[in-house]
């Protein structure tokens, strides 16, 4: 079911269950305490009455006076049978008079309707209050069952004694042989307990309701960051990579998660933007030669041309096509390097020789530009791909010559330092401005926004890719109008 898969609902259900258990435990305890209190109170009352009756039973007759008879003349709460119940053998009557202080304690004027039954030594009933209820038909039976037990005080109430319409009573056998039974209705207590039960249930319900509402609010509140995160993630998966999660509480666990996700999104965004930029740059680089070919051919075809003009057009188209071919080749190479398909050969060779070859290769270009090359090389064995590293060397040298001043200098130095082969190529050119230098290894990046140099703008990007594929590093430091130094570090 969907509802059980939602964290919010699961938390809510667990929380609700715990709340219900706690409330139920609390309510049960409160109910039991209240019940105990009520039973205790009734038992105290019953004991008090038994005590009074016992005293009255053994009061010396001399103290009795006609005035004392008065309670019995009024509508009597108790009836005294001097002869015992009909059908029983008459015995010497035991005189019993309900003492005046006990008159108010029995009878229907009390809610609990206390009543008593007194039995003589032989089991004959001596006295019984008028209000002994019909439901006490079993009384005689219980009484008879119990009276032979030696210690018949505090006879426990029947189990259901406190149930509605039930009674509670206690026996006491006096040392003189009489048995006193005092009982009462527990109707008021039953009602009170019922009320307590209702109140507890009511309060419990209200607390549960508030608990649920509070829990819902709290859970929603604590899960809101997750909703924010998922909303942002949805937008991002829909293609809007600029989305970020709003991080309000950076210190909480979710805040940290959001920060981590945000940095991931930022990296994705950057990679994506770079990719898009690259694609757009490729398109841009290809557009210019295509435009050249289109305008050249359309112009040429506008009217009849001389063979020389056609030749010129064809040559221009060829130049454009060659430029595209060069660009495509370089792009393919970069793509392979990116994909890691271009396996670097691992050959042990003298890097010094490769650098010297590179210097020889670019000498004609240097002479053409009037640039002098100074090489300071020491033999140095390294492991790597000779062809690729030679490409890096020529790239750096060509750059150093092309961006040099007329009659400038290029210095090449190869040295070993701390287990690394360090190649530096420095020129005396115009240098790279501070804002450009972090970008020189980016694809198609040119400080000078033009295409006149005839380069693809990918040379340094490729050099970097090759050096890094060898586990090395390449960096640039430059000073405007003083020159630029490229440093390549390779494991030797």
């Amino acid at each position: 079911m969907k509802i059980f898969k939602s964290i919010k609902w699961r938390l809510q259900i667990w929380y609700g269950l715990i709340l219900v258990v706690v409330l139920a435990g609390f309510g049960f305890t409160a109910y039991q305490l209240e019940r105990g209190r009520l039973v205790g109170r009734i038992d105290d009352e019953l004991h008090r009455r038994v005590g009074i009756l016992a005293n009255a039973l053994h009061r010396p007759p001399s103290r009795r006076s006609p005035g004392d008879e008065q309670p019995f003349d009024r509508p009597p709460p108790g009836q005294f049978s001097e002869d015992g119940p009909p059908g029983q053998n008459p015995r010497p009557p035991l005189e019993f008079h309900l003492p005046p202080e006990a008159v108010g304690l029995f009878g229907t004027n009390d809610l609990n309707n206390f009543y008593f039954i007194i039995e003589g030594r032989n089991g004959n009933e001596l006295a019984r209050s008028e209000n002994v209820p019909q439901s006490e038909v079993n009384f005689q039976h219980r009484f008879n069952e119990r009276k032979n037990v030696s210690n018949l005080d505090n006879l426990p109430a029947p189990r259901a004694s406190l149930n509605f319409q039930d009674n509670r009573g206690i026996f006491e056998r006096l040392p003189s042989g009489e048995t006193i039974y005092v009982g009462c209705s527990v109707l008021p207590e039953s009602r009170e307990l019922k009320m307590t039960k209702l109140k507890l249930a009511g309060f419990g319900g209200i607390i549960l309701l508030f608990g649920f509402a509070g829990g819902w609010w709290f859970v929603s509140r604590s899960l809101r960051p997750i909703e924010n995160i998922s909303a942002a993630a949805v937008k991002i998966s829909a293609g809007d990579l600029s989305q970020r999660i709003n991080v309000a509480e950076a210190e909480s666990e979710l805040g940290k998660l959001a920060l981590v996700l945000n940095s991931t999104f930022a990296r994705l965004d950057a990679a994506f933007t770079q990719q898009k930029q690259f694609a757009s740059d490729v398109a841009h680089e290809l557009r210019t030669p295509v435009t050249v070919m289109l305008t050249q051919t359309q112009t040429a075809l506008n009217r009849e041309r001389s063979p020389a003009e056609y030749r010129e057009t064809v040559e221009a188209c060829q130049r454009a096509a060659q430029r595209m071919r060069k660009l495509i080749g370089v792009l393919l190479e970069l793509a392979r390097l990116d994909a890691g398909q271009e396996q670097m050969k691992r050959v042990r060779f003298d890097f010094c020789r490769i650098v010297a070859d590179g210097v020889e290769l670019v000498k004609p270009l240097a002479e053409e530009r009037g640039v002098k090359i100074f090489a300071e090389l020491s033999p140095l064995e390294i492991t790597g791909d000779t062809e690729r590293l030679a490409q890096v060397v020529t790239n750096l040298l060509t750059n150093a010559i092309q961006y040099n001043k007329p009659n400038g200098e290029v210095r090449v130095k190869l040295a070993s330092q701390g287990g690394l082969a360090i190649l530096t190529v420095s020129d005396t050119g115009n240098g790279i401005s501070r804002e450009d230098s972090p970008h020189v290894f980016e694809r198609f990046y040119r400080g000078d926004k033009s295409r006149t140099s005839g380069n693809t703008g990918l040379g340094l990007a490729i050099s970097k890719a090759i050096v890094e594929a060898h586990g090395g590093a390449i960096e640039v430091s430059s000073e405007v109008d003083a020159g630029t130094i490229f440093t390549v570090r390779l494991l030797s």
Binding site: T291, L294, T295, A316, R319, D448, K449, T452
Partner: protein, 216 residues
């Protein structure tokens, strides 16, 4: 009509200039931003074809600086086709935008359009009395019959027609009909004017002595 092309790709610059010259325009060229701005500020071109990516100074910068002094119609030429770039170009003051690679015919049409707009004309057809000039097809009808004009004659007549009612000085005509490489002989203009009059009627072009020419 005199046009400046600022473009750093030599093959493209050459073929564009040739094509536009063959269309009857006088064409000046510049292959970097600084020269381009210098030319654009120094002469009243009828239109400028401006590449965005240029050495020394890019197209945006040229446009920004040029707009401080001149209203010359500018057609931007660029390889970037993002709406962002186009919006930027138009907002900086470019009159139109062509994305590389383009068709020459489209480039010509857009050039004609921006020139026409700068002369406050809405259609390609200008009617003056019996003469009907179609600036798109570059042909002229006199009483519904086509008239053969040389490219130069057509340019002269078109320029005067676009500035109908205004007196156009000889200097202005020289500036708009001949590019910087042509040695403008002083009587060459008179020859073209008289040829046009022969073909379209003597009253078509009026001479204002000491001032210049005018189509009324």
């Amino acid at each position: 009509m005199r046009i400046l092309i600022v473009e750093d790709e030599p093959d493209l610059l050459r073929s564009l200039a040739q094509a536009l010259r063959e269309e009857g325009y006088a064409v000046d060229t510049a292959n970097n931003g600084e020269d381009g701005l210098f030319n654009a500020e120094g002469c009243d071109y009828d239109a400028i074809v401006l590449d965005v990516m240029l050495p020394k100074m890019d197209g945006w910068e040229i446009l920004k600086r040029l707009r401080k002094t001149k209203k010359t119609p500018v057609l931007m030429l660029t390889a970037r086709d993002q709406p962002r770039d186009r919006v930027r170009g138009l907002d900086t003051g470019a009159d139109d935008y062509v994305v590389k690679p383009f068709d020459l015919s489209e480039l010509f049409a857009r050039l004609r359009a921006i020139i026409r707009r700068s002369a406050n004309k809405t259609t390609n057809v200008i009617e003056i009395g019996d003469v009907k000039i179609d600036t798109a097809a570059r042909n002229v009808l006199l009483k519904e019959r086509p008239v053969e004009l040389t490219a130069r004659e057509y340019s002269l007549m078109e320029f005067l027609a676009l500035h109908r009612g205004e007196v156009v000085t000889r200097t202005q005509l020289y500036e708009h009909l001949f590019d910087e490489n042509e040695s403008s002989l002083s009587n060459l203009l008179d020859v073209h004017v008289s040829n046009v009059r022969k073909k379209l009627g003597a009253e078509f072009i009026v001479t204002r002595r000491g001032h210049g020419y005018c189509i009324e």
